[in-house]
């Protein structure tokens, strides 16, 4: 197992972990705007780490015929995901805010929250 395989495993593992954590956040968080946070984690951190892992894996083929072709395509995919994920999330939140989607107010102690005495 070479050093490139170890780096690929680390990148894929952390990326997959970020994806699963973001998915759990998408299920468990209370309102729409906080769920956007969970989805943005998977769209930027998870996706980009997984693509970086694949690029590092492809670097083991340096010297072959047309070895640069697949890393170049994956670099384009990396740049596009890095730009498109936050852009689509911003458009989605702006559309939801314009349509009047509400968020959960945290309970204040004056209004009989769980810690009011």
């Amino acid at each position: 197992m070479s050093i490139l395989d170890i780096i690929t495993s680390i990148c894929l593992g952390i990326g997959t972990l970020a994806c699963i954590v973001g998915g759990i956040g998408l299920i468990r968080l209370p309102d729409f705007y906080t769920r956007t946070h969970g989805a943005s984690i998977t769209d930027t951190l998870g996706a980009n780490l997984i693509v970086v892992g694949l690029i590092v894996h492809e670097l083991g083929n340096i010297g072959d015929h047309n070895w640069w072709l697949n890393p170049a395509k994956m670099f384009l995919l990396l740049v596009f995901l890095f730009l498109a994920g936050p852009a689509s999330g911003h458009a989605l939140v702006k559309a939801a805010f314009a349509r009047g989607v509400r968020w959960d107010e945290p309970p204040t102690p004056q209004e009989g929250g769980p810690h009011a005495d």
């Binding site: 997959t16 994806c19 759990i24 693509v51 894996h57 995919l77 596009f80 689509s88 999330g89």
Partner: protein, 92 residues
């Protein structure tokens, strides 16, 4: 290595589907579908290396472009109710 990453991505896709089915507003469903599309891109890319066919990265690239355009179009439709509306005259 690639099989484990594919399994994790499939678990995340299942979680996104649960939110897409349960989502109280339409924007929750758009969020879940957007995340599902991004995870499909990653699944195609990792699956290409899992099956020793790295050409699948072309499909992943095209799917990422289609997913982004689709999300923006559905957001615009849900915000304005009309895809042909001029944004310059309707900023709010």
């Amino acid at each position: 290595m690639f099989a484990g990453a594919m399994a994790g991505i499939l678990v995340t896709m299942a979680l996104a589907l649960v939110r897409g089915i349960r989502g109280p507003t339409v924007f929750d469903r758009i969020l879940a579908v957007n995340m599902f599309g991004t995870k499909t891109v990653l699944l195609i890319a990792v699956g290409g290396y899992f099956m020793h066919r790295p050409e699948f990265i072309d499909l992943a690239l095209v799917y990422a472009l289609v997913n982004f355009i689709g999300t923006i179009a559905v957001c615009k439709f849900c915000r304005f109710g009309n895809l042909a509306r001029d944004d310059a005259r309707s900023t709010r």
